[in-house]
C-alpha cells in the first residue's frame, strides 16, 4: 500500500537503508518495478542524496530508513533540508505499535527527535490512513515554504497479512494549512510606486526564488528595470552570473561591489531571501538608507531581522508577475537611464576591489596552487555547464565566488546548516537525476571524509561524478578564523600527517584517482579527469594552505561596508 501510494505520487527514486523495522517495506519494494531504490552506505548519505535530487530537479526527495539508529543517522540530513527549505519525505520505520514506549530494540522517538527540524510529521496509527498521510506529506513538503516531512511507520502498519482496498485521494484538504499564494494588490501597488521612484535599487534574490522556479520572472523584471542584481549563497544561478547587471554573491564572503551596493542603496527588493546573519552582518547597521520590499511565501521570514516597508506574501513567482504587469502599465514613468550614475558607482567599486577571475592563467611553479584557481579551471573545463555540489568551508566559498552559475538548481550546497559531508552524497542524487550531465563535487579533505563511504554506492550504481578535493591539509575555514581572531593558534584544525592517500583510497573503491601538486599540472590533470566520462575520478589537489577567503565582512559589530579584502587590508 505504501509503495502504491508513492508510485501514485510520482516517486521514481528512494534513497535508503534497510533494517528490522523496515523489512516489510523492503519486501514490498522488492516485489514492484516502478520505484528504484538506491542503497547508500550510511543514512546521512541517503538524506543528502535525496536532498541533491530535490534541489536539482525541484521534485521532492524520498528517504527510507529503519527505526532507531537508522532514523537518528538521518537527522543531520533532515536538518540540512529543513534549514534550506528543501522538499523531502522521510519514511522512518518504527518498532511495532505494541512495543512503542517499552524501550524495545532499535526503538527511538523519531517524531520527538525530529520535531524542531521538520516542517511537519506524521505517525501512522491505522493502516487505512497510509494513502491519505502520504498524500498530505507530499503536499506539505512541496507547498508553501518547502521542507522535510517525517512519517513514522510502526512495523505492524506495514504487515503484509492485512490487506485493504487501495484508494488514493485525488486532493488534499488540511483545514489548518493554507499558505499564501497571491500577494495583496495594494502591496503590489506600493511596491511598484517605490520601484518607480528609486534611484539606487538592488534586486536581492535568494533560495526562495529558486524554490518558486521564478528565474524567468526575475529576468523579465530586470529586462524592464535594468537594475543591479545580487544573489545569496542559496540563490546563485537564479539570475545568470554572466549578465552585466549581476554583482556576484553578497554577504559574509560576497563581492565588494555587491555588499557596497546593498549598503548604499535606497531600495532593496528582497526576492525569496530572508536577511539571515551571514547577509546582514549587524542588523542595526544594515543598509541605513534603504527602503525594503520583501517578497516571501513565509510570513515569519518577513520583518524577522530587518523590518520590511512593503511585504508581498505569496508565491514569489506570482508576486513578481504582478509587479511586472503593473510596471508594464506604468512604463512611461520609468526610465532606466536614471540608474546610470548608480551603475557607474558600482562599476567603480568593482574596478577597485572586484574579484580576479583570471588567476587560472598563472601556471608558474614558483607559486603553490591557489584554491581559487582550481575553481576557475573547473569552470572553464566544464564550460560553466556542470552541476556543482560542494561541502562546507573555504572550498565552498571559493566555488560560490568563482564558478559562474547561469541557471538555477545547478549549485547544490548546504547553505544554512553548513553540513560537512553533504557534497558527495548530494552529487549522487544529482547524477541519478541528470545522468547525462557533468556533476562535480568541489570538496575539501575535511568534508569529504565525513561521508566518504558513499564512494562504494557510486560504484554500485555507476555514478561517474568528478570529485575535486581542494586539499590544504587543514580545516581551512576554522584555521582562517583562528588566524584572524585567535592569534594564529591552530587548535585541532590540522591532522598531523594522518591524511589517507586519496588516490589509492579511490582506487580501492574501484574508481580512478589523480593527484595534482604543481600549478603546471593543474590544467592537464583536470582535463584528464574530465575526459574519463564513464568513471568516477577523485582529483586530489594540494593547494596553498595559507590562503584565506576574501572578501570577508568584519564581524562582530560591522556593517556591509566593513570588509576585509586581504590579510592586512581592510576597506
Amino acid at each position: 500500500m505504501l509503495m502504491q501510494a508513492l508510485h501514485k505520487e510520482g516517486v521514481e527514486l528512494i534513497f535508503g537503508y534497510p533494517g528490522g523495522a523496515a523489512l516489510h517495506v523492503y519486501d514490498a519494494l522488492f516485489r514492484q518495478q516502478d520505484i528504484e531504490h538506491i542503497l547508500v552506505r550510511h543514512e546521512q548519505g541517503a538524506t543528502h542524496a535525496a536532498d541533491g535530487y530535490a534541489r536539482s530537479t525541484g521534485k521532492p526527495g524520498v528517504v527510507l530508513v529503519t527505526s532507531g539508529p537508522g532514523a537518528t543517522n538521518a537527522v543531520t540530513g533532515i536538518a540540512t533540508a529543513f534549514m534550506d527549505s528543501i522538499p523531502m519525505v522521510v519514511l522512518s520505520c518504527q518498532v511495532a505499535s505494541h512495543l512503542i514506549g517499552t524501550d524495545a530494540f532499535q526503538e527511538t522517538d523519531m517524531i520527538g527527535i525530529s520535531r524542531p527540524i521538520v516542517k511537519h510529521s506524521f505517525t501512522i496509527e491505522d493502516q487505512k490512513d497510509i494513502p491519505r498521510i502520504i498524500k498530505e506529506a507530499f503536499h506539505i513538503a512541496m507547498t508553501g515554504r518547502q521542507g522535510p516531512v517525517v512519517i513514522d511507520i510502526p512495523k505492524d502498519m506495514t504487515a503484509p497479512d492485512k490487506l485493504f482496498d487501495f484508494a488514493y485521494p485525488d486532493e488534499v484538504n488540511i483545514r489548518s494549512y493554507n499558505p499564501p499564494v497571491e500577494p495583496n494588490d495594494s502591496q503590489v501597488q506600493r511596491a511598484v510606486n517605490a520601484i518607480l521612484s528609486a534611484k539606487k535599487p538592488v534586486l536581492y534574490a535568494g533560495g526562495g526564488a529558486i524554490s518558486s522556479n521564478a528565474s524567468n520572472e526575475l529576468w523579465e523584471l530586470n529586462e524592464i528595470l535594468k537594475a543591479p542584481v545580487t544573489n545569496t549563497l542559496m540563490g546563485l544561478g537564479v539570475y545568470p552570473a554572466s549578465d552585466k547587471y549581476f554583482l556576484g554573491m553578497l554577504g559574509m564572503h560576497g563581492t565588494y561591489q555587491a555588499n557596497m551596493a546593498m549598503h548604499n542603496s535606497d531600495l532593496i527588493i528582497a526576492i525569496g531571501a530572508r536577511f539571515d546573519d551571514r547577509i546582514t552582518n549587524t542588523p542595526s547597521l544594515f543598509a541605513p538608507n534603504a527602503k525594503i520590499i520583501h517578497l516571501d511565501i513565509d510570513y515569519s521570514s518577513v520583518s524577522k531581522i530587518i523590518e520590511a516597508n512593503i511585504a508581498l506574501f505569496g508565491e514569489v513567482k506570482n508576486s513578481l508577475r504582478k509587479i511586472i504587469s503593473l510596471l508594464k502599465e506604468n512604463l512611461d514613468q520609468y526610465d532606466s537611464d536614471e540608474l546610470i550614475p548608480w551603475h557607474k558607482q558600482i562599476q567603480d567599486w568593482k574596478d577597485l576591489h572586484g574579484l580576479n577571475h583570471d588567476l587560472y592563467t598563472d601556471n608558474s611553479d614558483n607559486n603553490m596552487i591557489l584554491p581559487q584557481s582550481v575553481v576557475q579551471h573547473v569552470y572553464h573545463q566544464t564550460n560553466g555547464n556542470a552541476y556543482v555540489t560542494s561541502d562546507v568551508g573555504q572550498h565552498q566559498m571559493f566555488a560560490a565566488q568563482y564558478y559562474h552559475f547561469d541557471e538555477p538548481r545547478k549549485w547544490i550546497n548546504s547553505g544554512s546548516m553548513g553540513t560537512m559531508g553533504f557534497g558527495l552524497p548530494a552529487a549522487m542524487g544529482v547524477k541519478l537525476a541528470h545522468p547525462d550531465s557533468e556533476v562535480v563535487c568541489i570538496t575539501g579533505e575535511g568534508s569529504i571524509q565525513m561521508c566518504i563511504q558513499e564512494l562504494s554506492t557510486c560504484l554500485q550504481y555507476n555514478l561517474p561524478i568528478k570529485i575535486i578535493n581542494i586539499n590544504n591539509e587543514a580545516l581551512g575555514m576554522v584555521k582562517q578564523w583562528q588566524d584572524m581572531n585567535y592569534g594564529g593558534r591552530h587548535s585541532e584544525s590540522t591532522y598531523q600527517n594522518s591524511l589517507p592517500d586519496f588516490v589509492e583510497l579511490s582506487k580501492s573503491y574501484g574508481h580512478e584517482g589523480i593527484k595534482i601538486e604543481k600549478n603546471s599540472d593543474l590544467e592537464s590533470g583536470l582535463a584528464k579527469a574530465f575526459a574519463q566520462k564513464d568513471k568516477l575520478v577523485f582529483v586530489d589537489i594540494y593547494v596553498d594552505p595559507s590562503e584565506h577567503v576574501y572578501p570577508m565582512l568584519v564581524a562582530p559589530n560591522g556593517s556591509l561596508k566593513d570588509i576585509w579584502l586581504g590579510k592586512d587590508k581592510k576597506a
Binding site: 516542517k119 505517525t123 488540511i174 483545514r175 489548518s176 515569519s300 520583518s303 524577522k304
Partner: protein, 95 residues
C-alpha cells in the same frame, strides 16, 4: 516588555501540544503559564468557522492559552511562527 496572553486554536491530536511548546523553546521564548482544554462547545468559535470555511465538531479542536512577556515585534514573530505550525488553526493575542 509586557505580559501577553496568546490564544491558540489547534487540532486536538497527539503531538500538537508538543509542537507549540517545543516552538517556544526552539525560538528562545519563555512560557509563563499554559492552559489547554478540548473545546466542547464550539459556539464561541463561529467566527473561526466562517473565516476558514469549516465546521467544528465538539472535542475536535483544543483551546490553548499561553502567557509570555515580550515586546510587540517579538509577539508578531511568535504568532507567525505558531500560525505556521500545520496543526494550528489560528493563533492571536487575546485582548
Amino acid at each position: 516588555m509586557i505580559k501577553r496572553k496568546i490564544l491558540i486554536i489547534l487540532e486536538n491530536k497527539p503531538g500538537a501540544l508538543a509542537r507549540v511548546v517545543g516552538l517556544f523553546h526552539q525560538r528562545g521564548y519563555n512560557i509563563e503559564s499554559l492552559h489547554v482544554d478540548a473545546v466542547e462547545d464550539t459556539g464561541p468559535y463561529k467566527y473561526l468557522e466562517d473565516e476558514l470555511n469549516i465546521e467544528l465538531k465538539p472535542n475536535e479542536v483544543s483551546k490553548m492559552t499561553i502567557t509570555t512577556t515580550v515586546n510587540d515585534n517579538l509577539l508578531t514573530q511568535i504568532l507567525r511562527q505558531i500560525n505556521k505550525l500545520i496543526d494550528v488553526l489560528i493563533a492571536n493575542e487575546e485582548n
